[in-house]
Structure formats: structure tokens, C-alpha cells
């Protein structure tokens, strides 16, 4: 995403994790409403008593699927019904903890009227032609497949009914289906899906446009709490994750890169290392670039020393004895403290580039009855997913490779590996494996490139295992940055002008680094007559990338805290101020159901206020704070019940307790209620951890934090009570992996202001003497 433009006019493009030139680029609403805009192709094949349904989701790709006698492995099979009644449904998108291996098949099973107990879920192969875009990013998995998967279930159900209708010689409209059983109520005949599947497999599948999908009142599965399909394997410790992959004759690799980011390995004590127990290979790799920037389908790889041994431990142990000479002439010299100083120096000057200007902000501010100006700062943070990056790669002497990668972008990984290995994409056989946490880190495929090139170098299968220190040093960090905000209110206290100067890190001085800078937002700037976004870039080489709700996870803090500064300045109730600013009910982008809808926004704000008892009297040292943020097409408002105790701590450290957080979300239909609640709970915990104490800093190009002792993640004893409410909505579902995170920080900071009058303008709060 490093090559993406400064401003994103389309929020979908903003979250698209793929490089602009990748095939099948997510393209605005075409992707979201894929079931409508795609040319669909369906076929059916009877294979060994199974009903297999295939539907191409890509236009112009039908030929590969039209051979009636193709064997099952060559088909895009979402649904397979076996004679014993087992219904196998394929899960097409990568699972990294967002729950889509459960929720996507639920959508199929709903329209199919399958009994969930009969359903077995398998990961689908990676295949662009047959499954369309397969990735986990932008909270897109559910919305991009909602229509497609409902159609998949409906067409299978239809041919099952049709087969029963033929067998019993009764009209199809006299038949009903429930729990994998078809019933003819007049004759009281019943037949299970398993018993009719063979006959159904001989029928042609209908065009889904001729079928009527269920209305929400008819749902038996969607909206229920369904436990994750891999939970049994998880609680019994079965092999499931990338790191668990074992292939025959596999060796174990570690790869040491320069502690000063971007240094090149010149020489190393390779002979000495080769004498260490279990070490088979030790060699320097030149890499392809000085610093590997976020580019999922690219070839970026940093130089380093590979050590390959008979076991993980022998490789890691040998690593302790490595002596490497580095050439740091082109390495990063970044220091966070320097960036902070540079930002301070330019914050009150006009931005270097006026990215967007509507109306006349300067005059509007001059004419305002009240103006406020403030600087907001946020540091870098690390993804810190629990499973350190790893990948198994097996290079074959015939010039092909088999790869097991816990990636969020498997198709980009195939593109990337083909490029960097110099082979055709067809020669890359990549298996999608569950990832132990993603949060955006696994959108990039840098670790897979390293594994593949090491395997090629030694012509043996290897498992590359990053250490936690590797993970923290060579992350694609959530970039730090700065906002200078100014706003004006008229004499009635109504917001009239909004001026945003974003100060962003940039490696090339031309565009912000990945996920740095500012994206177009709908609220509140775009609701006003006078709005400006200007931008100044600061030079920084540190690698960055998307992290859960990129840009939103920092801009929400600045925007929603600053909104509270404004309402506080004029003594207006903040709920009232937010509602008034949103104004009349309308879509911000008329006709785009993924744009902000002011009525939906007001509804979630008022609902969360009511649920939390907004306005009630709070004990001393304790207050409620509220924030609203729209991202990933989700309307979310949150209230935090917070107390601050400054009587503790010899050095005046202020102890923050987040007692409870209320989340109210309008995300359309909720598919798996348990999964959606889990994402909201996780977002709240993630949001608190990120704002309170997590900070990546660098000094002279080196990352100062190396492991969890220097990068405190949230723990059980700090986790608040969390109340979650989803607004009943007939809109198509939007994703909930990310949008519940952005409102957390401003809700808590607004509560702190109400408690002690201190306006928080910097994350993490540990920099300001606060602690959990």
C-alpha cells in the first residue's frame, strides 16, 4: 500500500490491502455487491454420491469450469453433500481470528437450510478464478461474500427440492426444508439431504436470480451464537497454525537482519556457525532492497544471515553465536524524538500541500464566535500478533514450490513468490493455514519470501521461524504521526469550519508511508461548508503498514477528542453536540450504502448514551466519556466508564481504571452473534492496550522495544466489563473486525477530561504519567 495515493476518495480503496496492480482489485461497490455485478456461472457434478456445486465468481472465466466430467478436485466446490448426510462447506477467506471460517459457511448453511450439526468446514484452496479475491482485510470478508454465499446455499437447496419433487412426483412448491430434511406436508413424506443428494446431482443448477432468498424472519442460523468451528482442535492442541506445519525432511531456519533497519550483511562467522550442533547451512542473503516496505505482492526482502539447522532450537541457539558485519550506509537513521521535534516546528504553519479545501476555512474561522486549536500526537505501535511470523517452504528441483503460509493475502503471496523466485504463478502451490492473530501484519508476505528464497538456496524444505524480537523489529508498524486541528463554532455553538493539518512520515518525501497520513473521512469535515485538509511530510525510513482500522485508529482519537474540546468550550452536552453536528437524516454519499448515514449514526449515539445512563451522577474521580466513529461502513458509538486515581504512585503516576465499556454498533445483519461480540470485546481490549501503554520508538534507526517486557500488552486483570448491543438492521452486513476499535481511545480520554480537566492529546497515555 506504499504506492497508494495520499487521499482516498473511496473508503474501500483505503482499506484495500492489495497493491494497485494486483489482479481482481477490489473495486468499490462492485466488490461489495459482487453477487449482482458479477457474471455468474454455476455447474453441478455428481461424484461418488456427492452433490458438488461450483460457481465462478469472476467474469470471463467460465471455460475452466464447463467440462462436465472434470474430477472433483478441479472444481470450485463450496458445498458437497455426502450420502451419509455430511455437508461439507468450504471457507474461502483466510482465518486469523476474525471468525470467518465459521461465519462465511453459516451464510451458505442458512440458505441451504442445513442442520449446522451436519456441517463440516474446510479451508478452500487458493484460486482466484473459482473463489474470487481471497484475503482477510478491511473488514471485508462478510460484506464481499454476503450475496455470493447466500446464492450458493439457495441453489443447492433448490436442486435438492427439485430432486425430491421428481422422486415423489409432487409440485416443488408443496415442499419445505428444515435441518437438512425435505418434507412434503400433505403426504407427510420426508427425505434427508444425504438421501436425495445423488439424484439432485444430476440436475442443472438454477440461475440464482430466479430464486427468492430468505427474509430475516426466516433465518434459523444467521444472528445466532455459533461456537468457532476450530474450537475443538484449539482446546485439544491439534496442529492448526502455520507454526504447526511439518513436512517430510524439513529443516529449521532462522534469519538475522540488521538491528539498524536496512543495514546490509557484509560478512559473518559462517565457518564457526557451521560447527554449532545441528547446523546444516549458514549463508548471507543479499536481499532485494535496503528496507522492505509493505507490499504484499512485491519482492521486497532485506539482507541478512540465514542459519538452517535440524531443529528450531539448534537454529536459534546458533543465532546467539552469530557475528555479522553490517554495512549501514543506507540504513534508517530514524529517531522518534527527532520526528516529534520536527512536527512541533511545523504544526502551526500552513501544511506543505493543501490536499483538499472546501469553502473558505480561513475566513470562516475568522468569523467564528468560538475557535479552538490543538495538536494531537500518536506513536508507532506494533501488531504483536501472538504467533510470530513463520512459513514452511519446499522448493522442488523442477522449479516449483509448495508453501504453507499463515497469510492474510494468500493470492498476493503467490504473486509475490512467483516474482521473487522468477517462476510462473502456476508453479507456486500455496496452502492457506490459520494464522495466530493478524491485525494487518499478515497482509504483507515478507516472511514468506524469506522462507521461499532460503528453501530455494538449499533445495530443501524449511520452516522459517521468526523470533518475537524479529517480529517486533521488522514489523510494518502502525505509523506514528501528528494532527494539528482547528475548528470554529458560530454564536449558537454550531460547528462551522474544520481545519486539519496532518503531519505524516514519508520515506520518499512525496507520499506518506503505508497507512500514514490522512484519508478522507465523512465526519465532521465533509458535513461542513468549510473544510480543509493540508499535509506536511516528515522524512522517515521506518517500515509501516495497516494495523486494525488503519488511520481510523489514530484519527478517531484526535477527531473525537477535539470534538469534545469544542463542546466543552461552550458548555454543551456532548451527546447533544454530536447529534446536532450530524444534523438531518441523510446518506453522506447518496446511493452508497457503505457511506455514513446520519440517522444511523445518531441512533447508535443515542442508544449507547441510554444504555450507559449518560448524564447520571458519578462518584468523585469517575466519569463517562463518549465517542462515535464511522469506519469500514460500520456506525459505532461507545461509552467508557473510567476512574482516575492520582493518590497512588510516588512519582505522581495516575492510575486509570476502565470499569466498563458500552458498544453500540449498526453493522447491518449480524451473521454470527458470538463472533461479532467477540470482535467487539477484542477491539475494546485492543484499543485500551494501544492507547494506554504500547509504544514503538526508534533511536538512530534501531527499534527500542524488543519483546513483551518492553511492550506491555493488555492482560486479564485490566480488561473491563464490556456491554455490546447491535442495532437491529435490515441493511446488508458490514464487517466488524475493525470498526469497534477507533472509538475506544477518545471515549476514555473524554472521560478523563471530565474527571480531572486534563485534555489528553498524546498516545500512549503512559507518556503523560498515566497507567492502567
Amino acid at each position: 500500500m506504499n504506492n497508494t495515493p495520499i487521499i482516498f476518495n473511496d473508503p474501500l480503496r483505503a482499506i484495500n490491502p492489495e497493491p494497485a496492480n494486483s489482479p481482481g482489485l477490489m473495486n468499490g461497490n462492485d466488490q461489495v455487491n459482487g453477487g449482482v455485478s458479477r457474471r455468474e456461472f454455476i455447474r453441478l457434478a455428481g461424484i461418488g454420491g456427492s452433490l458438488v456445486v461450483a460457481m465462478s465468481v469472476m467474469p470471463g472465466r467460465v471455460s475452466a469450469l464447463t467440462t462436465k466430467n472434470a474430477n472433483s478436485s478441479a472444481l470450485n466446490a463450496y458445498v458437497e453433500i455426502n450420502g451419509d448426510g455430511t455437508i461439507t462447506i468450504l471457507a474461502p477467506n483466510p482465518e486469523v481470528g476474525q471468525g470467518v471460517k465459521t461465519s462465511l459457511p453459516m451464510i451458505v448453511a442458512e440458505e441451504l437450510d442445513a442442520n449446522w450439526d451436519d456441517v463440516v468446514i474446510e479451508n478452500s484452496p487458493i484460486d482466484l478464478e473459482r473463489f474470487g479475491r481471497q484475503f482477510a482485510g478491511g473488514s471485508m470478508s462478510i460484506p464481499m461474500r454476503w450475496d455470493e454465499l447466500r446464492n450458493m446455499g439457495a441453489v443447492v437447496r433448490h436442486v435438492l427440492l427439485q430432486a425430491a419433487s421428481q422422486r415423489w412426483n409432487v409440485p416443488i412448491d408443496q415442499l419445505s426444508s428444515k435441518d437438512s430434511v425435505i418434507t412434503h406436508s400433505k403426504s407427510e413424506k420426508t427425505i434427508s439431504y444425504g438421501d436425495i443428494a445423488q439424484q439432485a446431482s444430476e440436475l442443472a443448477l438454477p440461475d440464482p436470480k430466479t430464486l427468492t432468498l430468505k427474509t430475516p424472519e426466516q433465518y434459523h442460523l444467521i444472528g445466532r451464537r455459533i461456537t468457532g468451528v476450530d474450537n475443538l482442535a484449539i482446546v485439544t492442541g491439534q496442529p492448526l497454525f502455520g507454526i504447526d506445519t511439518v513436512v517430510p525432511d524439513m529443516l529449521f531456519a532462522t534469519y538475522i537482519k540488521c538491528p539498524q533497519i536496512g543495514g546490509k550483511a557484509v560478512s559473518a562467522n559462517v565457518d564457526e556457525l557451521m560447527k554449532r550442533p545441528g547446523v546444516r547451512h549458514a549463508f548471507i542473503m543479499d536481499g532485494t532492497v535496503d528496507i522492505a516496505y509493505f507490499n504484499p505482492g512485491g519482492v521486497d526482502m532485506m539482507s541478512g544471515l540465514a542459519i538452517v539447522a535440524d531443529s528450531s532450537w539448534e537454529a536459534l541457539d546458533a543465532r546467539q553465536h552469530a557475528k555479522i558485519k553490517w554495512d549501514t550506509s543506507k540504513a534508517s537513521t530514524d529517531s522518534w524524538d527527532t520526528l516529534v521535534e520536527q512536527a512541533k516546528a511545523v504544526a502551526d504553519k500552513p501544511g506543505a500541500v493543501e490536499v483538499e479545501h472546501k469553502g473558505d476555512v480561513d475566513t470562516a474561522l475568522k468569523d467564528s464566535a468560538t475557535t479552538r486549536r490543538a495538536h494531537y500526537t500518536f506513536g508507532y505501535i506494533s501488531h504483536a500478533q501472538m504467533e510470530p511470523e513463520n512459513c514452511v517452504a519446499a522448493w522442488n528441483s523442477n522449479g516449483s514450490i509448495e508453501v504453507w503460509a499463515p497469510t492474510q493475502t494468500p493470492q498476493s503471496a503467490v504473486t509475490s513468490l512467483a516474482k521473487v523466485l522468477g517462476i510462473e504463478e502456476a508453479k507456486v502451490n500455496l496452502h492457506q493455514i490459520r494464522g495466530g492473530g493478524g491485525f494487518g501484519r499478515r497482509l504483507d508476505n515478507d516472511y514468506a519470501r524469506e522462507a521461499a528464497l532460503i528453501s530455494k538456496e538449499i533445495s530443501k524444505p524449511v520452516k522459517l521461524q521468526w523470533t518475537r524480537e524479529d517480529d517486533m523489529n521488522y514489523d510494518c508498524f502502525r505509523p506514528g504521526g501528528f494532527y494539528a486541528l482547528e475548528a470554529g463554532l458560530d454564536s449558537k455553538g454550531k460547528l462551522t469550519a474544520w481545519d486539519n493539518h496532518s503531519i505524516a512520515v514519508s520515506a520518499d518525501g512525496e507520499k506518506p508511508n503505508s497507512s500514514a497520513g490522512h484519508w478522507k473521512t465523512d465526519f465532521p469535515g465533509h458535513m461542513l461548508k468549510h473544510f480543509r485538509h493540508a499535509q506536511t511530510l516528515l522524512e522517515s525510513k521506518t517500515q509501516t503498514g495497516p494495523l486494525r482500522a488503519p488511520v481510523s485508529n489514530t484519527y478517531a482519537f484526535a477527531e473525537q477528542s477535539f470534538m469534545h474540546e469544542l463542546s466543552s468550550a461552550i458548555g454543551k452536552d456532548h451527546v447533544e453536540f454530536l447529534v446536532e453536528t450530524l444534523g438531518e437524516p441523510k446518506w453522506i454519499d447518496e446511493g452508497n450504502i457503505r457511506s455514513l448515514n446520519t440517522a444511523r449514526a445518531i441512533n447508535v449515539i443515542q442508544t449507547v448514551a441510554k444504555r450507559a445512563g449518560w448524564g447520571k451522577k458519578m462518584p468523585a474521580g469517575r466519569a463517562l466519556g463518549i465517542a462515535f466513529y464511522f469506519s469500514h461502513a460500520g456506525h459505532i458509538a461507545e461509552v467508557a466508564d473510567v476512574s482516575v486515581d492520582d493518590s497512588l504512585g510516588a512519582e505522581g503516576s495516575k492510575k486509570v481504571t476502565v470499569h466498563k465499556v458500552w458498544v453500540v454498533a449498526d453493522i447491518g445483519h449480524v451473521v454470527n452473534l458470538s463472533g461479532a461480540e467477540n470482535q467487539c470485546q477484542g477491539s475494546v481490549v485492543d484499543g485500551i492496550g494501544g492507547m494506554m501503554s504500547q509504544s514503538i520508538t526508534m533511536t538512530d534507526g534501531r527499534i527500542d522495544q524488543q519483546n513483551f517486557h518492553q511492550y506491555p500488552l493488555m492482560r486479564a486483570n485490566k480488561s473491563p466489563e464490556i456491554d455490546i448491543h447491535f442495532v437491529k438492521s435490515d441493511f446488508a452486513p458490514t464487517g466488524i473486525g475493525e470498526p469497534a476499535l477507533p472509538p475506544v481511545a477518545p471515549a476514555i480520554c473524554n472521560a478523563i477530561y471530565t474527571i480531572n480537566g486534563e485534555r489528553i492529546r498524546e498516545m500512549p497515555l503512559s507518556n503523560l504519567g498515566y497507567r492502567l
Binding site: 486469523v96 481470528g97 476474525q98 471468525g99 451464537r225 455459533i226 461456537t227 468457532g228 476450530d230 474450537n231 484449539i234 482446546v235 485439544t236 492442541g237 491439534q238 496442529p239 492448526l240 497454525f241 507454526i243 504447526d244 511439518v246 529449521f252 550442533p277 531443529s311 528450531s312 532450537w313 536459534l316 541457539d317 504483536a384 500478533q385 501472538m386 504467533e387 510470530p388 494464522g435 495466530g436 492473530g437 493478524g438 491485525f439 521461524q465 518475537r468 458470538s674 463472533g675 467477540n678 470482535q679 470485546q681 477484542g682 477491539s683 481490549v685 485492543d686 492496550g689 519483546n707 513483551f708 500488552l713 493488555m714 492482560r715 486479564a716 486483570n717 480488561s719 466489563e721 464490556i722
Partner: protein
């Protein structure tokens, strides 16, 4: 030579460098991959196993230092017929996992907690579980799952 019993099986780790952390011997040598690598410095708890019933960080326990010990890993909790422990079942019933990577370590810590204290208070649960990081933030469910088992152990009274 160290004598180690893992999940009720005597194992011979004499071929393994005695400095090898138990974590890597479990994963690479014995193929028990349920125990996870998270940080390597005893900060995250992903590698938690039981040694003689007590929770330890297997990334810090060197194979050569373990003697006459009974180790239990996540694979050894369910019985031979696959019947889950009440905690494992509670984890499924409460749909605790998101990514699931830390959950083996969480369950091992919770198992040790309830072994030591069948009816822990909320504070005692927090204290016992605060050595295990869940980056996905499933803590409310982890606590609820533990409390549900503790309640049963205590005849339905959690207090």
C-alpha cells in the same frame, strides 16, 4: 539422564541437547505442537504446560534440568476416549477463542488454578491468568469460562 513423563508416557529425550527448552523438545522432537512459542522469555504464557500439576513456562525449562517430573501438555488433558475436561468444554461453550493461538497456554494456566483452588474469586482468577497474554482480547470469555467450571465444582455457588 533425565526421566520425564509426558502425558502419562515415559519419554526418552537423551538425544536432545540438554540445554534445549522443553518447548522446542515438545514441538520439534515429540511433535506435540499444541504448546506454542510466543516470546521465548516467559512473558506471554503461550508455552504454559503443567509440571507435577503446576503451571510452568516451557520456554524456560531446559530439558536437562527436568528430572522425575510429570509433564502435562494441552494434548494430555482429554482422556483416551477424547472426553474433554470441564475447562476445555467450557472454552468451547463460551466460544472463547478468536485466533486461538494463546488458548492452550490459557487452558493450562486455568487448569493449574482450579487444581490449586477449585473455587477461586474473580481477583484470584485475574491473578492466576495475568501471566497469559491474549492479543485478541478474549479475557472476559476466559474468566467466564473458568467461573462456569468453578461454579460447578462448588455446587453452583461461585462466591
Amino acid at each position: 539422564m533425565s526421566k520425564i513423563t509426558i502425558n502419562n508416557n515415559d519419554v526418552d529425550l537423551s538425544g536432545v541437547d540438554p540445554n534445549t527448552p522443553l518447548l522446542w523438545a515438545l514441538r520439534d522432537t515429540l511433535g506435540l505442537v499444541g504448546t506454542k512459542f510466543g516470546c521465548g522469555i516467559a512473558q506471554c504464557g503461550a508455552c504454559t504446560v503443567l509440571m507435577n500439576g503446576q503451571a510452568i513456562r516451557s520456554c524456560q525449562a531446559r530439558v536437562g534440568q527436568i528430572n522425575d517430573a510429570e509433564i502435562t501438555t494441552i494434548e494430555g488433558l482429554a482422556d483416551d476416549d477424547g472426553n474433554l475436561t470441564p475447562l476445555q468444554q467450557a472454552w468451547i461453550d463460551h466460544d472463547v477463542p478468536q485466533c486461538g493461538y494463546c488458548q492452550a497456554g490459557q487452558i493450562m494456566s486455568a487448569t493449574a488454578l482450579l487444581h490449586n483452588k477449585p473455587s477461586p474469586s474473580k481477583d484470584e482468577i485475574d491473578a492466576a491468568m495475568s501471566g497469559n497474554i491474549c492479543r485478541c482480547g478474549t479475557y472476559t470469555r476466559i474468566v467466564a469460562a473458568i467461573e462456569s467450571v468453578a461454579e460447578k465444582a462448588n455446587g453452583g455457588d461461585a462466591s
